[in-house]
């Protein structure tokens, strides 16, 4: 058997042209202000740092931020390949559902997340299913459908950047973010 091996180094400095000129599109910062994002979207030109902003306190915001309140807890963790809200997170989900019920103008996004394993696209759907599971529980407990948007980051926003079971367990989660945060 003939094994055929070759290393091709394409020199970056070669003179030449690309077949079609392309233009980089700028990305504007539409991110909600708040501390939940590890790096906000920035304009597309020069690579500046992430944009952070101060949160705007609305009615009841103190309650949401009080570290002694269960409402300051915002993450629900899931077992591998599971969408079942575990018993230990039910008090947290119930507390947020009661808050939505008593603050009709409050809005939240539940962001689903997965660990890094498998298809990035399929993981968006998996994260969505986790977010939907918590929303379903909250609406059964009295929150209104219009108060909760569910979205997914798939595997794209790990809380723990590691590649082992400890990291994966931290990354299979829903994050609760209130509007204005």
């Amino acid at each position: 058997m003939r094994n055929f091996l070759l290393v091709a180094i394409v020199a970056a400095a070669l003179v030449g042209c690309s077949s079609t000129p392309t233009t980089e599109a700028p990305v504007e910062d539409h991110g909600a202000a708040g501390a939940t994002a590890p790096g906000g979207a920035t304009t597309g030109g020069a690579g500046g740092g992430g944009v952070t902003g101060s949160s705007i306190g609305g009615g009841g915001a103190d309650e949401l931020r009080n570290p002694n309140s269960i409402l300051s807890k915002r993450s629900v963790y899931f077992d591998f390949d599971s969408f079942v809200v575990k018993d230990e997170y039910k008090p947290l989900v119930e507390a947020h559902a009661r808050y939505l019920q008593s603050h009709a103008n409050a809005r939240m996004t539940i962001q689903g997340n997965t660990d890094e394993r498998g298809s990035r696209e399929y993981n968006i759907a998996l994260g969505q299913k986790r977010a939907d599971a918590v929303k379903r529980m909250m609406t059964l407990l009295g929150a209104q459908d219009r108060q909760i948007e569910t979205t997914s980051f798939g595997e794209e926003r790990p809380k723990n950047p590691g590649h082992d079971e400890t990291a994966w367990a931290e990354n299979r989660r829903d994050d609760i973010v209130y509007a204005g945060e």
Binding site: S19, E24, A25, D29, P38, S119, E121, Q128, D132, F153
Partner: protein
Amino acid sequence: MIPLFRRWLAAVVLSLLPFGAQIAYAQLSIEIVGGASSAIPIAIVSFNAEATWPLGISGIVAADLSRSGMFRLVDTAGVVPRPSRAEEVQAAVWRARSADAVVVGSMLPLPDGRADVRFALVDVVKQTALVQMSFTVAPAQFRITAHKIADIIYEKLTGDRGVFSTRIAYVTKQGPRYQLIVADADGYGPQSIVSSNEPLLSPRWSPDGTRLAYVSFEHKKPVVYVQSLETGARKAVAEFRGSNSSPAWSPDGRKLAVTLTKDGGSQVYLMNPDGTGLARVMTSQAIDTEAMFTPDGQSLVFTSDRGGTPQIYRASLLGGQVERLTFDGSYNVSPKPLPDGKGIVFVRRDAGRFQVATLDYATRQVQVLTPGPNDESPSVAPNGKLVIYASENGGRGILAAVSIDGRVKQRLVAPATDVREPAWGPFPRS
């Protein structure tokens, strides 16, 4: 033996790369880690008058052909006089060097600054000229002309259309910065078409190669964009309540399939590429996503967990009949139809390893192409002969390519950058 060579090759590439790494977008370099045992021995003789130009053509042709793994380059040193036309090729000289084919040519300067590029492909076994062609080209077109010549040689000798003139798209992550890059298929000329501090995913070429659809998280949730490569103009075409992901173009370029959650659950919809004309394709109580059109445009293949685990299904857009395609294992995802309409490339999980594989519709045969453990996001070259996919090396994301028979493997490495989400572009418009 192959793994040892891989490590050695990686060391060579890494030691050379930093010098080329100072440009804005890290350029991919390509290493071959295995070749077809049937590689065709071919001699590429440097073209007459090539040295008078800043960029030669024969070297690019040789690099293209050898990178495909379908050819083995025969040494041309010491052949005097050096032939530059078909009739100057002495078959006996090249047969003695075990060459089956010889490429000769010239690139003579014209008064207007352009070059008269001529080449011939000679079969030294049958002692006939298979191709003789000439082009009048400006120096700025030398590279694209070389790829065109390589495509012609490849097609003549293998029977399949070459993909050396095509482009690829991929996503890089450097620190917090994501960039969607478009480059030539050999990694040359990378250009960023969008950059963001939030993830970019799922680039998909329009069939005419003028637009890319992709997913951006710049609004803190997945939104599908379509962007023109010529003007850079972009539009959010699917930005509904919930998540918007997994775009795919119909073969005629007139429809996009997307996964939306606006009506509850991840479901597949069709829309016009400008965001109008939204229509739901089918309704299930499960996840339906990763839809791709079959080459005839009449069906979608997609991933669904309707059977309890993620498996690949095919649904006719005419009749609504849904057929399950994968049965082995508990995780089969990311179907990408082959251009001949006879099967798909997909990702399977086997004992915790994610591997790229092919499935033949007729025989139901699954062939595993890559070793894993973290191979994903496959994209098929427009000639159906190569698959580019995302892999890992030393904890970093890299791109790799494998021939459709699994024999020829390449790795595409960029320094200090995570590279993922490759998408092979269509044949260029002629």
